[in-house]
Symmetry: D2
Subunit: 254 residues, 4 copies
């Protein structure tokens, strides 16, 4: 059979990215407490395409993915990207894996344990240098300092999402980023709370009002202290309970 | 050309629904204050298919829709469905239109005006009888009665969505359903609030704690009083600010 | 602490459903080939609420879920729903679990293996009778019979989704429903295809043109033959490659 | 009342972006054929926040938006961003508006007219320089050259989305970008096609097979010829009808 993909294209532009998107795949990822955790990822994989080839062989991405099933760690991703470069004869390879990750949390008073889900993304590329960006999305509560200050009683609060992206020297645990994110908010949140916990959480949030701007700055202060973090960005989006839109703040360390 | 759709199918089952889904279309709908409002809808259209036909001619749905552009009212939908029955030689025709609808609201203290969006659905079918169901989704705030009761200060609150579906005798205004939904919550919400409004809203919600169960019951009490409403259902989903999941309650009048 | 939920409501309507929505949870489900499979589910849980209670204790849903972690089978779900009835003193309990499920498939010519994802839903309720509905969503290809018939060459085809819901006597394997769905289409699809497979798939689809109406009827014919299936419905949605909307057909066995 | 937002923050980092997200708003935009078009947008608005302020006054974003209702053109957006800079005392202002846009198209043989929806984004920022990026997402059909070449008959094809982003000198019409995108694919698509049109489209696509890589390169060739375009990027995603994932290609002009 003719290999059309290998032929010369009509217009000889090199392409930045060719590949496959939205592949669902079961994964095993490292877990700080339990060694490993089973999850399901949504995956994108790309390489650059030189101007001399018309197309890429999309099936090879799936073959590479298949070969590495169950080994999606910081180290394995570098090996996988090197294989992509070799197999596709490419200068740069790129993979994005997005997956739910669960951490068991203890309610603050009752001590009841429950699992909370965090959306995690590994965004890794390997051109001349290997880059690995870890992104963690952390649900929290923010309570509005302005609302508390101006009101005789009460204060509006809401579910907010902290999104932290980092590039670190070596492994940085998801669990450690989650901790930094949760401690920055008015209060962390839980899947299972008894009434004694609910009282604790309610009062803690009221004692600790935070704008989205405050949360971003508290996290920035913490991440600046981490010597193993080379680059980071922090976004906080608050699903305001007095509006039908969000408040948002963002910082990027250049 | 052969008309394959009109031929006999291999297996002669009558089908409940055949049609088109996810058509985007600009609409003009009735507006209680401003006579009409421009919006953009997502539309599904179906008819039943007798056992004798292999398929339906999907392009005819679009032709019917095109003919009625700009006239999507209670009365016009009945005419449109009758046309669907005639053109497709069908016993039953069905249309679903989902669209954002805006109402101008006045902030409670400053009086500042702003637009709030409500997601609305018209779900109409015409078999032997014409049925028209109006669904309105209303963003509100709920403040937890339990959290208020057990805590020394503060109370968790959050954005919640009230979904009311009704079948009425004649026209029932979207605006009137929105009012019933908003008055049932701890507080209604707004796009634009100055600080005096934020104080008012915060205190109002604290004075008026509501479980999702309470909101459903208050609305049920109101809708039961409306003589023009023949059937209704009410769902309330609260995006809890102490959890990463929702609380939900639902009532249907049989 | 006062137990507000147990108090009398202002308006004494019994509610059809109260509960929790959109809980993410890791699951282990039965796998026909590999005994079990790890996945991550989105879960809703409800009970009815008598007119005498103001609210329900939402944390108990999470406690019940936690207790059953790793045991989400047909049998366990019945036990779980009975526990919900007991703990909430309810007449009816309801659970919905939606999750990705992977099946290893062999490419038709090369024999290369790869995983394909199917979205699965368990929808179970237990009032007087236990009902368990299994829904499987199956990606396939449909090739248009009309386009093939009227064109000198070629025929438009596209990705389509078959959604089959059944209520069966006893266990019915996800894998067996998937097979019925895949055999009904112009061709089944795969994650990994070499060129020999792509040729096979392309020609198979062209030899086997199907409207969405055809696919629904072929599946209906098959499900009618299954003696263990008491009730079913079949929907097929085709993401037309000549339009930006879908074609849809639906049958329900009453 | 105390103005908490104006106070000094605990940690004095300047923030890149503070603002509001996910505001729904009715818009009037310019239309090449009909002068103007009513639509509904999803809007994000941000400014940078100096290290000296704790927070921003979120309500002001809505006030600015309200003032400009009905005037969202290239020129008005520059004025709006200048107002944001003035009102927030900011060095940089940023707005993103995403909305459905409809173009009336004529079927190729029957000449029947119908509306097709394109998702459009205006992404504008004003720091020292005003940047306005227009993004248009265009649904098309791609037919696989490899599948056509290796198969005795037929060829798999599918719905694909072309996403073109440009920065131009002065106004560049949405309609003109759509034309470039549609002409690059195996065939453009329509909402309403009679059988004679379906035959034409089917054969045209078969005569004109295109990989996602081809489509990106054809568009790149065209955009390079446009003297008023200073920067652009092109992404093409194809919802493969033989897989349950997408093929993707991307080019960015630096």
């Amino acid at each position: 059979m003719r290999d059309i993909q290998k032929e010369k294209p009509e217009f000889e532009f090199p392409l930045n990215k060719v590949g496959v998107k939205d592949i669902a795949y079961p994964l095993t990822v490292l877990d700080k407490e339990n060694k490993e955790q089973h999850t399901v990822a949504n995956i994108n994989m790309y390489v650059n395409l030189p101007h001399t080839y018309r197309g890429t062989h999309m099936s090879r991405f799936i073959e590479i993915l298949k070969k590495h099933r169950g080994q999606i760690t910081y180290k394995q991703i570098k090996i996988l990207l090197q294989e992509m470069k070799d197999i596709f004869d490419a200068e740069c390879a790129h993979i994005e894996l997005t997956f739910p990750y669960f951490i068991e949390k203890k309610a603050p008073v009752s001590g009841q344990k429950s699992l909370l889900k965090y959306d995690v993304k590994f965004d890794a590329s390997f051109g001349k240098i290997f880059h690995f960006i870890l992104q963690v999305n952390i649900p929290v509560q923010t309570l509005c300092p302005c609302s508390k200050e101006i009101s005789k009683y009460g204060a509006h609060n809401q579910r907010s999402f902290v999104s932290i992206s980092i590039e670190s020297k070596g492994l940085f645990w998801i669990e450690d980023l989650v901790k930094i994110g949760e401690e920055s908010a008015s209060t962390e949140i839980f899947s299972l709370l008894k009434r004694s916990d609910e009282k604790f959480i309610t009062e803690k949030a009221y004692d600790n009002p935070r704008f989205v701007e405050d949360v971003v700055r508290v996290i920035t202060e913490q991440l600046n202290k981490e010597k193993n973090i080379k680059w980071f960005s922090v976004g906080v989006e608050s699903f305001e309970s007095i509006h039908n839109h969000s408040a948002f703040a963002f910082y990027e360390k250049k």
